[in-house]
Amino acid sequence: MAAATTTTQVFCLAVAEKTDSVVRILASEADLSSYSFFHRPAIAEFVNFFTKTVVERTPLGQRAKIEEKEFLGHVFIRPDGLAVVMITIATYPSRTAFSLLNRLAEEFSSKFPQKATWATMNPSTTATRYPELKLHLQKAQDPQSADPFMRVQKELDETKIVLHKTMESLLARGEKLDDLIVKSDQLSGASKAFYKTAKKTNSCCGM
């Protein structure tokens, strides 16, 4: 169900809870469609392991960017122990990743404010308890649309292209108008001559 516009750039999006270096994954969504069917379990295992390790290693209240093989893990651990991890390809813009992580953390904590509810969550219940995660994952596949800056920038660029085209057609219009001017000049001259001739014929009578 990858709704990637180009390719899958984000492989996994996970929310975890870290209490005194004990890490428990609360929700996780993965998109491994770019790997062949038989590799998927191994990759999934690796992704899980990566998430856990990264959350373990990062101190509370910090962000970190870990690079490994062709993956890039962005992790943000809030001071209250809530950790969000995003595993993407190596060329994902980090600003987008971290702003997305921020928003995800806010959303999660607003949806499940009590730590007690966290205790009942584990990755398998994600689809039922926290379906928005999947949506976020899909949206994040295209960093252009996820990051508001990039979105605005893209729209501005499109507008600029449209304006350029308009300018070109405006120039063409200018040329045509020039043509029209010349032709109407000639027409006016011809009609004047016509008038003169008619007048002459009329006035100069007699044989």
Binding site: L163, T201, N202
Partner: protein
């Protein structure tokens, strides 16, 4: 900023008044000598305050010199020894002046009433003299009070300026330090990082914050391997055991967090700047657009004029033709004339042959 010490003037004015309104010089003497230090104390007071004024002047000039030195922002030609010396000297001067002013005011308080009392007692006989002396002493007291207040206020402004200069100096020093760090760490970053990895050990390389920019990618890479399979002939770091690596990891991640935050902030600011530039460009494009459309409006107006002209001409010509046609079709006289001429020619030809 100079302390205008007019005690000498006042002194001479008082003397002239004394010499003018002169009842018994004896009383005068009586007046003056018990406050015996009268002229002497006065002149002593004058001397002391003059001295203080001079020192305040000197301190102010030193302070200006210090200000000039402290404002220099060059990275290398800074002369901290001189500046520190100057600061020390100025501090001492200010303290000394303060002390002197305090002494002077205490002395004046002690001796003032004495002078007044002495004057009153000595001039007991010369009532007028005493009456004349008391206001003099009171005036002297007031004057000395004023002098002391003005000296104190000058000293206060001087020390305020001194404080400002010190603040400026500390700011400059901080700036210089950061700039020095920038320059030195860019060159020292790479070799230090290299040495750090090679030298390894539990302690993180004591390099400045720039080395993490080089490091975290390389250092973070081994982490997932440590618990899994260590790569064959991998990084030297791994050989120091996971504990050492973890330590380094922790210490490397701490500066990495700051670096990441900076990265995020910088990329945001870049994005915003580019958006702003794009919007400005768009504005420019729209302006050009409007100018071109305005110029084309003129062309359209010309075309319009030409076409109207043409229409007028054609209309006129059409009317002429209509008139002509009417002429032709209605003027039988013309026709008759034409036929008459034809017939004349025909007759002529017939008659000829």
């Amino acid at each position: 900023m100079t302390v205008k010490n007019r005690t000498v003037e006042f002194h001479s004015a008082v003397e002239s008044i004394l010499s003018r309104s002169g009842p018994g010089p004896a009383e005068r003497q009586g007046l003056l000598s018990p406050s015996h230090g009268g002229p002497q104390t006065k002149s002593e007071f004058a001397r002391a305050s003059a001295g203080i004024g001079r020192e305040i002047n000197a301190t102010v000039s030193k302070l200006q010199k210090l200000a000039r030195l402290a404002k220099r922002k060059t990275l290398f030609d800074d002369r901290p020894v001189e500046i520190n010396e100057l600061i020390y000297i100025i501090k001492q001067d200010i303290a000394k002046i303060n002390q002197q002013i305090a002494q002077l005011s205490a002395w004046m308080r002690k001796h003032g009433p004495n002078a007044a009392g002495g004057g009153g007692g000595g001039g007991g006989g010369g009532h007028g003299g005493a009456a004349a002396a008391v206001p003099n002493n009171k005036q002297i007291q007031e004057h000395s009070l004023h002098v002391i207040t003005s000296l104190q206020s000058k000293l206060a402004t001087t020390s305020n300026e001194f404080k400002n200069i010190l603040e400026i100096r500390t700011e400059n020093m901080k700036e210089q330090k950061t700039r020095r760090d920038q320059y030195s760490s860019f060159t020292g970053g790479a070799p230090v990082a290299g040495g750090g990895i090679m030298g390894g050990g539990g302690g993180a390389p004591g390099s400045s914050t720039d080395s993490p920019l080089y490091d975290p990618e390389r250092r973070s890479t081994p982490t997932p391997y440590v618990n899994g399979q260590p790569p064959a002939g991998g990084e030297v770091v791994i050989d120091f055991g996971s504990a050492g690596v973890m330590n380094q990891q922790q210490q490397q991640l701490v500066p990495t967090n700051a670096a990441i935050n900076m990265e995020i902030i910088e990329s945001r600011s870049q994005a915003i700047e580019s958006i702003e530039a794009t919007i400005a460009e768009l504005g420019q494009i729209y302006r050009n657009f409007a100018a071109m459309v305005a110029s084309q409006r003129e062309m359209v107006q010309r075309i319009d004029e030409n076409v109207l002209d043409t229409e007028m001409n054609v209309e006129g010509a059409h009317n002429q033709l209509l008139k002509y046609y009417q002429n032709i079709s209605s003027n039988r006289w013309l026709m008759i004339k034409v036929f008459a001429v034809l017939i004349v020619f025909f007759m002529m030809f017939v008659l000829m042959t």
